[in-house]
């Protein structure tokens, strides 16, 4: 199964068209392996992006250097997935019993 150790989800608040263009640039960088859960599209819509652990530093550097406002909405993606998995296992056992 795919694992997401150390991966985080960033929420980026887009304030103008220039910032959308900058994020579109980020979207095109295949080597960062970003997964845009919500793409940069228009003002007033935050962008959510899953950032793999190996790309955290360069992405943070990019966002800070471009003056983009962001926060971390999911600190530890794998922890959330583990919790979901545990709940599903527990539920299966309950059904069996």
């Amino acid at each position: 199964r795919g694992k997401f150790f150390g991966d985080q989800v960033f929420r980026i608040n887009v304030r103008n068209g220039d910032e959308i263009s900058k994020l579109n640039e980020l979207m095109k960088s295949d080597n960062l392996k970003l997964n845009f859960w919500k793409s940069p599209c228009s003002l007033g819509h935050p962008v959510d992006v899953l950032v793999p652990a190996v790309s955290l530093q360069p992405v943070e550097f990019f966002l800070k250097s471009q003056g983009l406002d962001y926060s971390v909405t999911i600190e530890d993606l794998q922890a959330l997935l583990d919790k979901e998995d545990e709940e599903m296992q527990y539920n299966k056992e309950q059904e069996r019993s």
């Binding site: 795919g2 997964n35 599209c41 935050p46 709940e87 599903m88 539920n91």
Partner: protein, 307 residues
């Protein structure tokens, strides 16, 4: 009547078994109908709710799980299925809807993708079809419909999350739904359930141009969002897809609208971002309960405005 937990996430097999159980428990109201199969040859099942005893009636299509990682969508659909059979004969609204119309509910519109999210990659969105000459797998099944296909807001790159596919209806999952709806010929309403953003939208997605019925659709959607919010205050934004989120071509709801299904809506269920596609299971029932109020408002409007 059984031990299926509607407040938990389930495998495809468990969902299909539960659909069978619902049909078995309410044979005069519900039946499980196979409408096709997926790329990896998994069956595609809908639950048909009908009091028409075989006669053809106008119908409502409820579509869930087209993007496989949006698990709250499939879970909400299953809760909704049980709600329909439980409330028929008790709740005057759903009773009167079913006296006049049939409801078809597709809880898992992308079965291969759903299985993939359980076994390989929880965050998979697309189908699992293969493309000669590309190492990348899958098509975005909500860019694959014949509605401004391959236009703005979709990608021709098979590695993209919004790859539109080689041609409209290239995905057998999409084609199965299209064929079924066209053969039936009397669908009046098509509602697609997604997550997450808390939005209720109507056509168009492929253009910012207003749909001919935009005023009516907007009014219905606003009432539905109010009804939804009345349960626990969940706030939805309402508008056309292109003006509310982004322009996207080849979407299911635009196809439905352009093919004469006037009441075409897209829900983006909870939440607003803290969990994204990983909405905790304890929010399934609250989400489904509030969504039901929105769905019912739309379905009542359709019942009262058959065309």
């Amino acid at each position: 009547s059984n031990n299926f937990n509607y407040g938990a996430y389930h495998s495809l097999e468990a969902i299909y078994q539960e659909m069978d159980s619902i049909a078995g428990d309410f044979p005069d109201l519900a039946s499980r109908v196979k409408i096709g199969h997926s790329f990896e040859n998994r069956p595609m099942y809908v639950l048909k709710f009908s009091t028409g005893k075989g006669s053809q009636r106008p119908a409502i299509w409820l579509n869930a799980g087209i993007h496989s990682r949006e698990w709250i969508s499939q879970a909400t659909a299953m809760w909704t299925a049980r709600k329909i059979v439980s409330d028929y004969g008790k709740d005057p609204a759903i009773t009167s809807i079913l006296e006049k119309m049939d409801i078809f509910l597709l809880p898992v519109a992308n079965p291969d993708g759903y299985v993939h999210t359980h076994t390989e990659n929880r965050l998979w969105r697309k189908t699992r079809s293969l493309h000669p000459g590309s190492p990348c797998i899958g098509v975005d099944p909500n860019r694959n419909w014949n509605a401004s296909f391959a236009g703005k807001g979709a990608s021709g790159n098979p590695c993209s999350e919004v790859y539109h596919g080689p041609h409209a209806n290239s995905e057998v999952e999409v084609k199965s739904v299209v064929d079924f709806i066209q053969q039936h010929g009397d669908f009046k309403c098509f509602i697609d359930l997604h997550s997450y953003s808390q939005l209720l939208m109507y056509p168009y997605a492929y253009t910012a141009k207003e749909a001919p019925d935009a005023d009516e659709l907007d009014e219905v959607a606003r009432r539905a969002a109010e009804a939804l919010a009345s349960l626990s205050g969940t706030q939805y934004r309402v508008g056309s897809s292109a003006t509310t989120v982004y322009q996207a071509s080849g979407s299911s709801v635009d196809w439905a609208y352009d093919n004469g299904i006037k009441y075409a809506f897209t829900f983006e269920l909870r939440d607003t971002g803290h969990y994204g596609f990983l909405l905790p299971a304890d929010q399934i029932i609250p989400t489904a309960e509030e969504t039901w109020l929105g769905l019912k408002t739309i379905m009542e409007h359709v019942r009262d405005h058959l065309y």
